[in-house]
């Protein structure tokens, strides 16, 4: 990949300053290695032959010399007004990528620390980075180069965490700044936990959030993962998630997108144990000139795995949504059962959807299927509703809500479901399907 020298230089000087702050720390060599890697590969701006970024142009992100952001004294009310929140949850707040102890809950049920503290105390985090292949991803390399703060969560063996852990990454929208949040979760054998990752805020000028999450799910453990992305129309948000499942473990993911100028979510679930399963669902609503790219991959490496991938998109304005979903079934992964689907409802003549649901199958005794649809509602559906006296606008609204509701309804945390319903239903457009 061709790299742009000035883009790398800019980050290199910020990098030197950061490294000087934590000399001889356990993170120093990790960062140095990542920066060297980044200098070699740069951001994925090359278009030709670039299958991973085929439909998403990151040149606008590469062009801006983003400076490292600093913390700010944002109040709790601002956070609560934009992110899901319940006092019964364990809430953890980061502003511009920095942990805000004063706004966050503590818990002795599980190990919950912020990365900056672990760096300060010189306590290395075992397995941090083990799921991230920085050699293949300029954004993940950049995140790792600036490893500074984030959340480290470890749930002990057999522990069932009753209430969700709600992690809010709020950006105050300082112009031309970047935050590199980092999440590391380890769910011990037989444990069960729900984690909500929120990316919210942003301002009237361009800023970048470049996150990396790694989730290790040990034998028999269950992780329910929610992701909510709703940032300003000037925010760029690149998220990189890596999950590894052991025997009999379960990973459920629900991803909701309604904000950011360019958004990208690259999620890869490695099924590395027998009888493990994952259920990945997503809802994206794009409007204006937003661009959202969901790049969702499931890697079946062991037998008897099941996976379900179910994404839905609603497109309005001049927006563009990209769905790249890949199910890979490796040779040892016999008896895999996998379903994948991406459905798109296009509301505007200027919107575009690009969907690429791929299957790569190397084991024979498997059942794999995928499907994709794009377009409007069909005429019969609309006539059925109208024949009951419902006008076009109401019928259209019910169908659009229903389309979104299929994903929102499956959220099992009541407060979060209510929040999402409100967040989506109030912003979905009033529209008339006509034929």
């Amino acid at each position: 990949m061709v790299t742009n020298a000035s883009e790398v230089d800019h980050y290199a000087s910020d990098f030197k300053q950061l490294q000087a702050l934590n000399d001889n720390n356990w993170v120093s060599p990790i960062r140095s290695h990542a920066m060297e890697t980044f200098a070699g590969i740069g951001l994925p701006t090359t278009r030709k032959g670039n299958e991973k970024w085929k439909y998403t142009n990151v040149a606008p992100i590469a062009r801006i010399p983003f400076a490292l952001s600093s913390s700010s004294n944002t109040s709790i009310d601002v956070i609560k007004s934009v992110a899901p929140w319940s006092d019964s949850w364990t809430n953890v707040v980061f502003v511009n990528g920095f942990y805000r102890k004063d706004l966050s809950d503590q818990s002795d049920e599980f190990e919950l620390t912020n990365l900056a503290e672990l760096i300060e105390e010189r306590i290395p985090v075992e397995n941090l980075g083990s799921l991230t292949d920085i050699s293949d991803d300029g954004f993940a390399a950049l995140n790792t180069s600036f490893l500074q703060d984030g959340i480290v969560l470890k749930v002990g063996k057999g522990k069932t965490v009753e209430f969700p852990i709600n992690v809010v990454f709020f950006s105050d929208g300082s112009p031309s700044t970047v935050a590199h949040p980092r999440i590391f979760v380890k769910a011990g054998r037989g444990s069960s936990v729900s984690v909500i990752e929120n990316y919210v805020g942003g301002g009237g000028d361009y800023s970048l959030t470049n996150s990396v999450s790694e989730i290790l799910v040990e034998e028999d453990a269950v992780v329910n993962h929610y992701r909510f992305l709703s940032e300003s129309e000037h925010t760029y948000d690149v998220g990189y998630g890596r999950v590894k499942l052991s025997d009999n473990s379960v990973f459920n993911s629900r991803s909701f997108f309604k904000g950011a100028n360019i958004g990208r979510y690259d999620l890869n679930v490695l099924i590395d144990g027998e009888y493990a399963s994952c259920d990945l669902q997503g809802l994206y609503f794009t409007s204006g000139d937003q661009h959202m790219d969901n790049f969702i991959n499931i890697d079946h490496a062991k037998p008897y795995g099941t996976s379900n991938l179910f994404y839905k998109g609603i497109l309005d304005g001049k927006s563009r949504a990209v769905f790249g979903g890949t199910v890979l079934v490796r040779k040892p992964a016999q008896k895999t059962d996998s379903v994948q689907s991406d459905k798109n409802l296009i509301l505007s003549a200027d919107a575009e959807v690009d969907s690429k649901p791929a299957l790569f199958i190397y084991a024979d005794d498997v059942k794999c299927a995928h499907g994709a649809t794009a377009g409007n509602v069909d005429a019969d559906t609309l006539f059925y509703m109208r024949s009951r006296g419902i006008d076009l606008e109401t019928a259209s609204r019910l169908l659009i809500y229903g389309f979104a509701g299929e994903v929102i309804d499956k959220v099992e945390i009541p407060e979060l479901r209510d929040f999402l319903e409100e967040a989506f239903l109030t912003s979905l457009p009033s529209y008339k399907f006509e034929f």
Partner: protein, 292 residues
């Protein structure tokens, strides 16, 4: 080497035009071109069959086929490709890199590609239809069977430009031995293609645990009135079906052939009758030794 065929206005060509290709020379290549123009209101059906004798080294086939259908015209292009696939260890065989493009240029025009691909060491080909005329129709029906060390990467492109354009893609892939089979296809619905429709169905069967079957669709929709649907499945031959046939006294190899032939029937029926018979026979020969 080149062929040109034009079908004059209003003529329904009553017989199938048939060509037969063979590559004989060792270490040779063949680079033919074909252009078919169907004038207004005409119909033509064109068949091509391809074989090559066994050679220890590779041969190259790199052809270009271009089809143009004007107003109300229809072109049906069928291929039975059985170039030498190489031996069971992957020695020899034809590299089959073919460019096939169709322009459904006039209103109500139709271009239909049907292919049965059983041969060649490596096949790369994507017969495409550019649906320019309003109400034009594009079809792609394909069976691709690979065995031993063969690789096939084939599919289509349907580019919807005109209004009320429709395309149908039905692709059946069968992989056996150590072979790799990929369906790779693009469906693009451009901003002016109001009420465009596409339906795509890709099904893959795997025989044995050393082969691969891959499905890579690219779907690009830029018009809200479009309806496009893509479905794909991958599995092995259904054990219950095989058992049912065996229980009725049919041996496993024959049962396997019957099930796979049934899997491909929808495509074979798009071929002219004699060709369909030949395609079934080709399937039988290609499947020999894949079970048991």
């Amino acid at each position: 080497m080149a062929h040109f065929a034009t079908c004059p206005p209003g003529v329904r060509c009553p017989i199938e035009l048939m060509t037969y290709f063979r590559i004989n020379e060792v270490d040779s290549g063949q680079f033919e071109r074909t252009l078919i123009i169907a004038d207004e209101g005409s119909y033509v059906s064109y068949l091509e069959g391809c074989t090559a004798p066994m050679r220890k080294t590779h041969q190259l086939h790199a052809a270009v086929v271009e089809l143009v259908a004007l107003k109300d015209a229809e072109i049906k292009y069928s291929t039975l490709q059985n170039w030498y696939p190489g031996d069971k260890d992957g020695n020899g065989g034809v590299f089959n890199f073919v460019t096939k493009r169709g322009a459904a240029r006039g209103e109500n025009s139709k271009i239909s590609w049907t292919q049965v691909e059983t041969g060649s060491a490596i096949t790369w080909k994507y017969p495409s239809v550019i649906l320019q005329g309003d109400n034009s129709v594009g079809e792609f029906y394909s069976v691709a069977l690979v065995n031993n060390h063969q690789q096939a990467d084939t599919g289509t492109k349907m580019i919807h430009i005109g209004k009320n354009t429709r395309s149908t893609i039905i692709a059946k892939g069968i992989s056996a031995g150590k072979a790799e089979n990929t369906y790779r296809g693009q469906v693009s619905i451009l901003p002016n293609a109001d009420n465009a429709r596409n339906f795509t169905q890709c099904d893959s069967l795997l025989i044995g645990d050393e082969c691969g079957a891959h499905t890579v669709p690219y779907i690009e929709v830029r018009n809200p009135s479009a309806q496009m649907g893509h479905e794909a499945t991958t599995s092995k031959v259904n054990d219950d079906q095989l058992f049912y046939l065996q229980q009725r006294g049919i041996d496993l190899e024959e049962a396997n052939y019957m099930v796979i032939n049934g899997f491909c029937r929808g495509i074979f029926k798009e071929l002219p009758f004699e060709f369909a018979m030949e395609a079934s026979q080709l399937l039988r020969v290609s499947l020999e030794g894949t079970v048991g």
